[in-house]
Symmetry: C2
Subunit: 447 residues, 2 copies
């Protein structure tokens, strides 16, 4: 394994210091349960979308310390030799359960439940949070955009406005939120996402005339391609585009507008296309769209949306603000009990949660039910008693990773799961305006 492929140092230093202190004190082996959850949503999020679970399993597969990394930890004196011995052979050997990718989540929902020794649980904290905080933020924004698009296709074009590697993950998260394609080739290759893209303004500027540029593009890509018509003058551009396609013996597939007042432009361009008889030629728009802009374009004759900046930056919410907290641990007496932090404004609910969704008589979700304490079996029995649909699935068992959870097929399944889960939510979930979470969270304690 090349050093760079290891995910083990994508970790805050204090995870290793805590491990070291626990080893030193003999407490590292105590059984513990940690949960990943969010305390509350910002007002613009009525629900969250779980994304990143598949990437976590892939990253966990590569969570091993290379000799190069061990040497560096030693040279920097980050941890003691005892800790280095522990890390040298480290493989996570515990269990992880979690919400399946695509599932909607709410305040307190345990997106992941990690159970192992204190040391093992601690080492994973930063990596799990980094992945989920990014991917859930993007998937949640994507879902709002696909709601606003009302079935018109949305595609990701945000690579240039995000870190080059997070862009790859953002494309994947966007698919979970309902997007249909990406401009990012690495994402397309790695995750089997439909790749999209034709040409930029520079291609038109390269040629002596717009028409020459359009001819060149059509010669290669055929008349079904998408021509960018706003480099100079849109009306002229549309005429050139349609004529170039007809000169090549076909009707143009699509025109793209990337600037100006998109509503007005779309009506004008549609009118012009129709007047030219190019009634099958579609219109796609791409200028700084977000869910609000997409909603405002709902009445305009537009066929699809290319979304960039606002998608990959989470449309105002660039991180999901999920935290990773210990909710139960073994005491010196060998008994495991719930634990909770009491600090002002950051308190946590003790005990492992078994999570379910409760539905009303019309079949709409009405509550996120979190049964705190007890064994998972007792929790499931309580969910059943209360008629709730269980939400957690096994992801890792005794260190064995469910590889199927990060296949390309799993990504499609996650998109379908999200649409189903979203469709179960009450009407207020679909509103773009600020407000409360679509459903409340209720805690039930097992005695």
């Amino acid at each position: 394994m090349p050093a760079s492929a290891s995910t083990a140092l994508l970790t805050d230093m204090y995870e290793l210091t805590m491990l070291d202190a626990a080893l030193h004190h003999g407490t590292e082996g105590r059984r513990a349960v940690f949960e990943v959850f969010g305390r509350r949503f910002p007002a613009t999020r009525r629900f969250g979308v779980v994304a990143g679970t598949g990437r976590i399993l892939e990253a966990l597969e590569r969570f091993e310390f290379s000799s190069d990394q061990i040497d560096w930890l030693h040279d920097q004196r980050i941890v003691s030799d005892e800790a280095l011995d522990y890390l040298r052979g480290f493989r996570f050997s515990g269990s992880i359960d979690g919400y399946a990718e695509g599932e909607c989540y709410f305040s307190g929902s345990p997106l992941l439940t990690v159970e192992s020794t204190f040391a093992e649980c601690t080492l994973l904290e930063t990596l799990l949070l980094s992945i989920l905080n990014h991917d859930c933020a993007v998937a949640s924004a994507a879902s709002r955009m696909t709601i606003a698009a009302h079935g018109r296709p949305c595609v990701d074009m945000g690579a240039r406005r995000a870190h080059e590697r997070s862009a790859v993950s953002a494309a994947r998260a966007a698919v979970i939120g309902g997007f249909g394609g990406t401009s990012d080739l690495e994402a397309a290759k790695r995750y089997g996402i439909h790749p999209i893209g034709t040409a930029a303004h520079a291609f038109t500027l390269l040629h002596s005339s717009e028409r020459e540029a359009f001819d060149a593009q059509i010669a290669l890509l055929g008349t079904g391609t998408t021509l960018l018509v706003d480099t100079y003058d849109v009306t002229e551009g549309v005429r050139n585009a349609v004529e170039a396609a007809r000169a090549a013996g076909g009707e143009l597939g699509c025109v793209r507008i990337d600037s100006g007042d998109l509503v007005a432009q779309a009506f004008r361009v549609r009118g012009q296309l129709d007047a030219m008889g190019a009634t099958t030629t579609k219109i796609t728009v791409t200028n700084d769209l977000d869910e609000y802009a997409i909603a405002a374009l709902g009445a305009a004759p537009i066929d699809s949306y290319g979304v960039g900046t606002r998608l990959v930056t989470g449309s105002g919410v660039p991180t999901a603000a999920l935290v990773y907290k210990m909710v139960a641990c073994e005491g010196p007496d060998g008994r495991t009990r719930g634990v909770a932090k009491k600090s002002e404004s950051k308190s946590t609910v003790a005990g492992r949660k078994t999570a379910g969704r409760v539905f009303d008589a019309d079949g709409y979700a009405s509550e996120e039910l979190l049964v705190a304490g007890g064994t998972p079996e007792e929790g499931l029995a309580e969910l059943k008693r209360q008629g709730a649909r269980p939400l957690q699935v096994p992801l890792v068992r005794a260190g064995q990773i469910d590889a199927a959870a990060w296949s390309p097929e799993a990504l499609q399944t996650a998109q379908e799961r999200h649409l189903r889960s979203r469709n179960e939510l009450p009407y207020q979930a679909w509103r773009l305006s600020e407000g409360e979470a679509a459903i409340p969270t209720r805690y039930a304690a097992l005695s």
Copy 2:
């Protein structure tokens, strides 16, 4: 080179389609000049900070298409066989000039100038923008935070709130903006940044009592460590912390507060520490800080700041919104001339820019001067004539990358350069409030 180490597919599909169409049409070899610049700042940015140049050079070194990638492009029919032949042996052979890392930039500043064939310039677009848009956004936010901190150290603790790989780059960008350390081990290792971190709330919860947890941490890390005092009750926590250190024969190094009203807590904790005689024990705070919170804490007895979410998400501006535009290209007659896009609200200034900073009589920067058109030599002569300090440095020459620009030493140099560059700006640059850019940009055209 392992497939994953290649940066060649961190690219929008349309870059390859344009290359393909240009090859097909025989225009791919035309000489072109592209510039990276920002059109305008959001109101909360008085200046931008250049960061990411070093990472670009590193990424460029690995911008090669592996056979695996070529096979995928072929299987997906993304481009023609002719284009695949071109890509198979691709190495960037042109020149890149740019602002040195750490330099402040303004509206229109050409952060990078790429000169080569149209095909080569096009292929780099997405990667250059991804890196700069992320890194400049974080460095610019970091700089505002270090301004607000007035010399008190700021350290990065944001890894968990960012994509796991962008967190590594964010730590690097934060150093350029004046930060002094990072919790992210991969960043510390890769870029030689000072690693920081001790323990989280879970470590306290693991033990039978807070005091036992503190004893365990001090036993390993010594009394100079930082103890987190707000798991249960802060007053109790501070007493436990000081007593634990004294029981181990020393005075405690630092306490960390991570919740509640930090101003009030800092005064209370400082008073308590002083009353206990622990006058050398420092206070660090870490709860959702941004430049405004840091400024508000300026009068409180705090010794350092740990910044997370708001740093790695660019404190409200998660992307620098830089664009990459062709400003000159060779025509069919072999002559190179300036080109510009005329679309509404997205127009560009034609011609290669030579950039300089003009200073007033007091030695403060007064203008960003961009000389458009002409050769670099002519541009430099004009800058000299107008008394401006030239801002561009050579980064790549005939494909040869200046490796010194991405060494760990270069990162320290960039931090020092930034502080110098920021100190040259007029007073309004230092204001956190909304407003105009600290200095205006003036274009001068060479005939």
